[in-house]
C-alpha cells in the first residue's frame, strides 16, 4: 500500500476561514478539493506540504445559479445537471469522457481547472524519480523533457474543463486575503509547468461564471487519447463560434494539453472572423493551429504525432460547429 506523508488536515466551514487558515501556514499548505489529483501526487511524494486544508465542507463553493458554477461542485453533479448541459452542450461529451466515472464522483470543477501539470518524468514514485533522475518540478534541478532547462518546467496541462470554459468566454472568480476578484479564464493561465496560473497560493477558486450570451455560441471539445475512460488528453482542441448563417461572427480557439497551459489562440481566431465556415476555412484554421502548437515529449504519444493531431482535432471541432457529423467516441452519446 502506498504511504501518504504526514500532514495536518484542516476542515474550515467558510471561504474566509479557509483563506485565514492558509495564511497562518506561511505558504506550506495545499487546498484539498476532491483529492483525486492532490492525493496521488502526495502518494508519489511530489511537493507534499505539512498542512492540507479541505474545501469540501464549504457550502458556498457548491452554489449553482444559471451559468455560475461553484468551484466545489463535483464533475458528476455537473454531468447530472440537464439544464446546464442543455445550455452549454459542449460540456456533455467533455464530462462523459473526463477521467473516469469514479474520479468524477469526487473530482471538483475547480480541481479540474487547477489540475496539476503532468509529465512522464514527474508522475512517478519517489523511488522511480530517483532511478529516473529527478525532475525540475518535483526535486530539481533540471527539466527532463527539455534538457538544460533549469527555470521552466514543461509538464503538460491535462485538464478537460478549462478549454471549454475558455471558448464559452467564462470568467473565473477567486477569493483571497484581499477579497474577491474576477478575471477572464483566458487570462488565468501563465506559461510555466510549476506555477501554471496567476492564482495566489491562498486564493480559492470560488466559481466559474459563464456569460449569458454564451448560450448562443456553438462549441465543440475534441479530446484525443487512446482510451475512452481514465486517460488524460494527449491533446485537445476546443472551439466556439457565433454564426450568422455560414459566416463566422465570433471565433474562439484553444489548443490544450500541448503545453503547460491551455493555449488561447486568439490571433488565429481573429484572422477568420467574417469568413465563411467552409472546408477551405477549416483547413486554414487547422493548419494555423498545427503550426502554433509545439508539444514536447511529456506524455505517452510522440510530440510530432500530437502536433498533427491538433490539426485533425481542430478540423473536427469546426466541422462539429458547422453541424457535420464527426466521429464520436463509442457510446459517448
Amino acid at each position: 500500500m502506498m504511504i501518504l506523508p504526514e500532514f495536518d488536515l484542516l476542515r474550515p466551514r467558510s471561504v474566509d476561514e479557509a483563506v485565514a487558515a492558509a495564511r497562518r501556514t506561511s505558504g506550506a499548505f495545499d487546498y484539498l478539493g476532491g483529492g483525486t489529483d492532490l492525493l496521488c501526487n502526495y502518494k508519489w511524494g511530489i511537493n507534499a506540504n505539512p498542512t492540507v486544508i479541505s474545501l469540501r465542507h464549504i457550502g458556498e463553493l457548491n452554489e449553482r445559479q444559471g451559468g455560475s458554477l461553484g468551484g466545489g461542485l463535483t464533475l458528476a453533479e455537473l454531468e447530472a445537471d440537464e439544464d446546464f448541459l442543455h445550455d452549454f452542450p459542449a460540456f456533455r461529451r467533455t464530462l462523459a469522457r473526463l477521467a473516469s466515472p469514479l474520479i468524477r464522483q469526487t473530482g471538483t470543477l475547480a480541481g479540474n481547472i487547477l489540475v496539476d501539470t503532468r509529465c512522464i518524468w514527474l508522475n512517478q514514485s519517489a523511488f522511480a524519480r530517483r532511478a529516473l533522475g529527478n525532475c525540475l518540478k518535483a526535486d530539481g534541478p533540471e527539466c527532463r523533457v527539455v534538457k538544460g532547462s533549469t527555470d521552466r518546467c514543461y509538464a503538460n496541462y491535462s485538464g478537460d474543463m478549462a478549454p471549454v470554459f475558455m471558448v464559452y468566454g467564462a470568467e473565473i472568480r477567486l477569493a483571497g486575503p484581499d477579497g474577491e476578484r474576477t478575471l477572464p479564464l483566458t487570462e488565468f493561465f501563465s506559461l510555466d509547468g510549476r506555477t501554471r496560473n496567476v492564482k495566489a497560493p491562498e486564493e480559492i477558486v470560488v466559481a466559474l461564471d459563464l456569460p449569458g450570451d454564451a448560450r448562443t455560441l456553438r462549441a465543440s471539445y475534441q479530446k484525443f487519447r487512446v482510451r475512452e475512460a481514465w486517460d488524460f488528453p494527449e491533446l485537445a482542441v476546443a472551439a466556439s463560434a457565433r454564426m450568422d448563417g455560414d459566416r463566422i461572427e465570433e471565433l474562439s480557439l484553444v489548443a490544450s494539453a500541448v503545453a503547460s497551459i491551455p493555449l488561447w489562440m486568439d490571433e488565429i481566431a481573429a484572422k477568420y472572423v467574417g469568413r465563411t465556415l467552409d472546408d477551405e476555412t477549416i483547413d486554414a484554421v487547422a493548419g494555423d493551429m498545427f503550426k502554433a502548437s509545439r508539444p514536447v515529449r511529456a506524455t505517452l504519444l510522440p510530440p510530432g504525432y500530437r502536433k498533427h493531431m491538433v490539426r485533425v482535432m481542430t478540423t473536427r471541432a469546426l466541422r462539429e460547429i458547422r453541424g457535420d457529423a464527426v466521429p464520436v467516441p463509442a457510446a459517448a452519446m
Partner: protein
C-alpha cells in the same frame, strides 16, 4: 463413462465466487495475525552496479524497527527452474536491474519501515549497463551473470532443425519473410503481491502468499531458509489475478520469511502497484525473424524462424520460453521442414518470465502474419490456405509432438461461417478490415519441472457421515476455476449436487502435491486426478449398494444423490443409504486419484520442450475500424472458436476465452512496458493501458468440443490458448483495412497515421489496392 452428463457441460458459478462477491475471500493483504510487523524493501536505483557497502546500522536503530536483513543473511540461490537458479533473496555482490531488492526492513508500522528503508546506505560501483539484446549477443565487459554463454549475456541458446529447410525454401512457390519486434507486456493483475510470513510456535514457518505455484515456493523457501521441507508450510491465499505473474518463487517471499524468523513475529509485506512492474516476469520483449515456404497449391513446405528474446536480469522460466518460441510453432499446421534458432539474452531490466500463452504469443503473431502474406501472394483465401495445412487429429508433428484430439478444422470453419467472412474479406471499404489467425497451445506441460516420478496432480477425497465430500488438492485456484473443475468432476462421478463438494486447496499441510497453475495444466491434470479419486469412492458406494440390494455393483449408476441399477430402475438406494452402508465397520470413506503424463516425445536434445498430453486449438476472426484521420485502431468485433476438448464448465470456459480476447487485444493495441535506459516509465495502471469496456469489442465465443480421449470427460485447457490467435487476427485485420502490416506490437497510432499519409500521397490514393486474395 456415459456422454449423458449431469454436471459436466453445465454453467455453474465458480465454487469460490460466493466468497468473492461477498468480500469474504482472503487475499494476500487480507491475512491478519496479531502482533504483525510490516516489511518494506529497499530496491536498487542502479541498473547494474557492484555493491561495495551496505550500512544498515542507522536504519536498525530507528524507532519501531525490529530487524533489517540483507543478501548476506541468505545467500543461497533459487529460481523456478532447477537448471537456472540465479536469484537471491536480496542482492549479494551486485544489483542487476532497477528494482532489484537490496535490503528488507521489519518495523512496527508502514511508516517506520519506510523511513528505515530510506535510512539504509548503499555504496555502488557502476558497471557497464546492457539494455538491449543486441549488445549482449557477443562477449561483453561485465556479463550480467557469471554463467552466460562465452562471456556474453546470452543465457540460453536453442537450435533445432527438422527435415531440410534450405531445400524447402528452394522448392517454394512463395516464401514471404518478415522481421518483427515486440515490446514487453506485463500481467497487470489488480492484486499487488502481498505476503505474510508467520513463525509458528513449534519452530515451523508458514508463508501466506497469493501464488500460482505453492509447491515451487515451498521448495525455494526450504532452500533459501535452509530448513527441511517439512518444517515449511505454504498457504495459498486467494489470488487476485495471476496470468503467469505469480508463478515464480519470489525474492520478496524470502525476505518476509527471513524477517519473521529473525523477529519471531508475523511479518506482512504488501507491494505498491509499482513493485508489480519491477517484479515483472511478464512477456519477453524480442524480435522474431520468420520465413514460411509454400508450394503453388498452398501446401506449407517449411518454417524458418529465429527469435532473440530479452530476458531481463534473471532466468525465471526463460529456458522454457526460449524453447516455446520455436517448438510451439509446430501446430496447428503440418510443417514438414522446420528450423529454429532461439536466444535468450540477459539485460539490466526487470526479469521476464511466463505470461498467459507463454512463449507462443509473439511467435504466433509473426507466423500468422507471414501466412497471410503468403495467402495474398498465392491469391488463396487466408482461411482456405490454413484449412489446407492443419494437422489431423491423432497425428504427430515433425518434432514428434503427439497430437490427440484436434478441432482446428471446426474452429476455422465456424469462425468463418459465424462472422460472415465470405461477405467481408476483401470487400470492406478502406479503413475497415477483417482478419483471421489460428492458435495452438499445450494442455499442461507433460514434463514436470523437477525430474521425479511423483504424480503431477493428486487429489484426496474424504466423505463425512453427513454426506459432504471434501476434496484436498494443491491445485492453485487463481480465478480460472480449478477448484470448480475438481468439484464438477467429483459431483459428476458421484451423482451429487455440486454443493456436496468442498475443495480445500490452500494449505500445504493438508494438500497432496500438485504442481500449480501454469502451462494450462489444471483442467487436464487436476481434473483427471479428481475424477480418478471419485471413481474409487463410487466403486465403494456401488459395492455398498450391492450389499444392500443384492444387485451387481457394476450395474449401478449415480444421479441426483441416488444410486440406481441401470438395468432395473426399481433397484435403487439413496446416496446416503449407500454411504451409511459403506461407512459401516469401516470408519471413513477416503480415496486418492492422481495424474501423470504418459511417456511421449522424441529423443533429440530439447525433445521434451512443448510436450503435452493434449493440445488446444483455436481460431479467431477480428474486425477493425481504423480512424483514417488519426490512425487509431478500434477492434469492433471478435469471434473466437476454441477447442477445449469438452467444456466442463461452459460459464468458466466462456469467461476464459473472453478474458483472452481482452488481454490479447490489449497487447496488440495499447499495452507496453516502456523503458528509458533500464527504467520503467509507466509502472501504474493509468500509463500502462489495459483496455476498458469501450475498447473491448463485441465478443463471440464458440466452444468446439473435440472430446479428448485422455482428458477428464474429454476436457482440455481453455485458459491460455485462446489468447494466442487474438493478436495476429487483429494484425491481419488491420492489414485488410488499410494495407499496413504492423511489424511491431503494440500497434502504434502514429505509425498507422504515417502509413495513411503515405497512402494519401501515393498514386492510387485512398483506395484499397491490397489484400485481393483471389476469391
Amino acid at each position: 463413462m456415459t456422454q449423458d452428463f449431469k454436471v459436466v457441460g453445465s454453467r455453474p458459478p465458480l465454487v469460490d465466487s460466493w466468497k468473492k462477491v461477498t468480500g469474504q475471500a482472503v487475499y494476500g493483504d487480507d491475512v491478519r495475525f496479531p502482533n504483525t510487523l510490516i516489511c518494506r524493501l529497499l530496491r536498487s536505483t542502479q541498473p547494474h552496479a557492484r555493491i561495495l557497502r551496505i550500512d544498515t546500522s542507522r536504519a536498525a536503530a530507528m524507532p519501531g524497527v525490529r530487524a533489517v536483513v540483507t543478501g548476506a543473511d541468505a545467500p543461497a540461490r533459487f529460481g523456478v527452474l532447477p537448471i537456472s537458479q540465479d536469484e537471491e533473496a536480496m542482492a549479494t555482490d551486485k544489483v542487476r536491474y532497477i528494482g532489484d531488492i537490496v535490503a528488507a526492513v521489519a518495523a512496527d508500522d508502514e511508516a517506520a519501515a519506510a523511513a528505515a528503508v530510506d535510512a539504509i546506505e548503499v555504496v555502488y560501483e557502476k558497471l557497464p549497463e546492457y539494455f538491449t539484446t543486441a549488445e549482449g549477443l557477443d562477449p561483453v565487459e561485465e556479463p550480467i551473470h557469471a554463467w552466460t554463454v562465452d562471456g556474453s549475456n546470452v543465457q540460453k541458446r536453442v537450435d533445432q532443425h527438422f527435415g531440410d529447410m534450405d531445400g524447402a525454401l528452394e522448392q517454394a512457390a512463395v516464401k514471404p519473410r518478415a522481421f518483427f519486434d515486440f515490446i514487453g507486456v506485463g500481467h497487470a493483475f489488480t492484486e499487488p503481491h502481498a505476503v505474510t510470513a508467520v513463525p509458528e510456535a513449534d519452530g515451523r514457518l508458514s508463508l501466506y502468499t497469493p501464488t500460482q505455484v505453492p509447491h515451487y515456493v515451498h521448495r525455494a523457501l526450504a532452500k533459501v531458509l535452509d530448513m527441511p521441507l517439512h518444517r515449511v508450510r505454504v498457504f495459498r491465499t486467494a489470488v487476485g489475478g495471476g496470468f503467469g505473474g505469480k508463478s515464480d518463487p519470489f525474492p520478496h517471499e524470502m525476505c518476509a520469511c527471513l524477517l519473521a524468523r529473525r523477529t519471531q513475529q508475523p511479518v506482512r509485506l504488501t507491494f505498491d502497484l509499482e513493485e508489480i512492474f519491477l517484479t515483472n516476469r511478464g512477456r519477453h520483449p524480442g524480435t522474431y525473424d520468420v520465413q514460411v515456404a509454400f508450394d503453388e497449391h498452398g501446401r506449407m513446405l517449411g518454417l524458418d524462424a529465429a527469435a532473440i528474446i530479452d530476458g531481463g536480469a534473471f532466468a525465471s522460466f526463460g529456458v522454457v520460453t526460449t524453447y516455446y518460441n520455436g517448438v510451439l510453432s509446430q501446430g496447428p499446421y503440418k510443417i514438414p521442414n522446420f528450423r529454429y534458432s532461439g536466444r535468450r539474452v540477459y539485460t539490466n531490466k526487470a526479469p521476464c518470465g511466463a505470461m498467459r500463452g507463454h512463449g507462443a504469443v509473439n511467435a504466433r503473431y509473426a507466423i500468422e502474419s507471414v501466412i497471410d502474406m503468403a495467402a495474398e501472394e498465392l491469391r488463396i483465401d487466408p482461411i482456405e490456405l490454413r484449412l489446407r495445412n492443419v494437422l489431423e487429429p491423432y497425428s504427430k508433428t515433425t518434432n514428434e509432438f503427439r497430437i490427440t484430439s484436434n478441432g482446428i478444422r471446426e474452429c476455422l470453419e465456424r469462425v468463418r461461417d459465424e462472422t460472415g467472412w465470405q461477405g467481408k474479406k476483401g470487400k470492406l471499404p478502406l479503413g475497415k478490415g477483417i482478419g483471421v489467425a489460428c492458435g495452438f497451445f499445450i494442455s499442461g506441460s507433460a514434463l514436470p519441472i523437477h525430474k521425479t516420478r511423483t504424480p503431477q496432480s493428486t487429489v484426496h477425497l474424504q466423505i463425512d457421515i453427513y454426506g459432504g465430500i471434501t476434496a484436498h488438492s494443491q491445485g492453485a485456484e487463481i480465478g480460472q476455476g480449478s477448484d470448480t473443475v475438481i468439484a464438477i468432476a467429483v459431483a459428476e462421478v458421484l451423482g451429487v449436487p455440486l454443493d456436496f463438494v468442498r475443495v480445500r486447496s490452500e494449505d500445504s499441510d493438508t494438500a497432496p502435491l500438485d504442481l500449480g497453475a501454469y502451462s494450462s495444466r489444471g483442467c487436464f491434470m487436476i481434473g483427471n486426478a479428481a475424477r480418478e479419486a471419485a471413481l474409487v469412492i463410487r466403486d465403494k458406494l456401488a459395492r455398498a449398494a450391492e450389499r444392500l440390494t443384492g444387485h451387481a455393483a457394476g450395474d449401478f449408476d449415480f444421479r441426483d444423490a441416488e444410486v440406481f441399477a441401470r438395468s432395473d430402475a426399481s433397484v435403487r438406494v439413496s446416496y446416503f443409504e449407500a454411504l451409511t452402508e459403506a461407512l459401516a465397520d469401516n470408519g471413513a470413506l477416503i480415496a486418492k486419484g492422481w495424474y501423470q503424463s504418459p511417456r511421449m516425445g522424441g529423443t533429440f536434445k530439447g525433445a521434451g520442450a512443448g510436450l503435452a498430453p493434449a493440445y488446444s486449438f483455436s481460431a479467431c476472426i477480428a474486425e477493425v475500424d481504423v480512424d483514417l484521420e488519426t490512425g487509431l485502431v478500434k477492434c469492433t468485433a471478435m469471434a473466437l472458436a476454441h477447442d477445449c476438448g469438452r467444456a466442463l464448465n461452459r460459464l468458466a470456459v466462456e469467461g476464459q476465452i473472453e478474458g483472452c480476447m481482452h488481454m490479447g487485444l490489449g497487447q496488440a493495441l495499447l499495452e507496453e512496458m516502456r523503458y528509458d535506459r533500464g527504467r520503467i516509465t509507466n509502472p501504474n495502471l493509468l500509463d500502462y493501458k489495459i483496455l476498458g469496456p469501450f475498447e473491448t469489442p463485441d465478443m463471440k465465443v464458440i466452444i468446439v468440443e473435440s472430446e479428448d480421449k485422455e482428458g477428464p470427460f474429454g476436457g482440455k485447457e481453455a485458459g491460455e490458448g485462446p489468447l494466442i490467435c487474438v493478436l495476429p487476427a487483429l494484425g491481419n485485420a488491420l492489414y485488410d483495412a488499410v494495407g499496413y502490416r504492423s511489424r511491431q506490437l503494440p500497434v502504434r497510432p502514429e505509425r498507422v497515421f504515417e502509413h495513411l499519409r503515405k497512402l494519401r500521397r501515393a498514386e492510387a490514393g485512398m483506395s484499397k489496392t491490397w489484400g485481393a486474395t483471389g476469391r
